[in-house]
């Protein structure tokens, strides 16, 4: 059984790495959760492949507070994301607690 992987994203310039790592991990049978926070939340609105990431990964969520602080309407849910996935830093904690491996990008 492949290890599970959590990806913590704070930087908007890392999206291609997020996609690449997620694809590689899923190909190995890994469970993947991605959490976007601070300026990383720009990826949810500016990356065309964000909806594809939401389908590919087992769980994708973003920090609602960071999203609002980056200038977005907190009610404007990014394409591909469930409204319930507009969440808090507890999602980051869930990665640390529940996933075997962790990478910060």
């Amino acid at each position: 059984m492949a290890k599970s992987l959590g990806i913590f994203v704070t930087n908007p310039d890392n999206f291609r790495h997020v996609m690449g790592i997620t694809k590689a991990a899923k190909a190995k049978g890994s469970k993947v959760k991605v959490f976007f926070t601070w300026t990383g939340t720009h990826c949810a609105k500016k990356e065309a492949e964000f909806p594809a990431l939401c389908k590919l990964a087992d769980d994708v969520s973003i920090c609602l507070d960071s999203y609002g602080k980056q200038g977005y309407d907190r009610n404007d849910v990014p394409a591909g994301l469930e409204p319930s996935k507009m969440a808090t830093q507890a999602q980051h904690g869930a990665i640390i607690e529940d996933y075997d491996c962790y990478i910060s990008l």
């Binding site: 290890k3 992987l5 690449g20 590689a24 190909a27 890994s30 075997d100 962790y102």
Partner: protein
């Protein structure tokens, strides 16, 4: 304890020193993300093989 150091940019003297400190007396591996086409498959294998992964900016 095996540590994987992932480089987002070419490590400068400070980063090299910090890596030296955190990997002292530990097994260490590295991966460069600051290339045009990183081998993500290889990176994931390294992440799974490590006890801890550190991303350096």
């Amino acid at each position: 304890m095996k540590i994987l150091n992932v480089y987002r940019s070419e490590p400068d003297a400070t980063t090299k020193k910090l890596v030296e400190i955190v990997t002292r007396d530990r097994e260490a591996d590295s991966f460069k993300l600051n290339v045009d086409a990183p081998d993500y498959d290889k990176l994931v294998d390294k992440i799974f093989a490590a006890d801890q992964t550190i991303c350096w900016w």
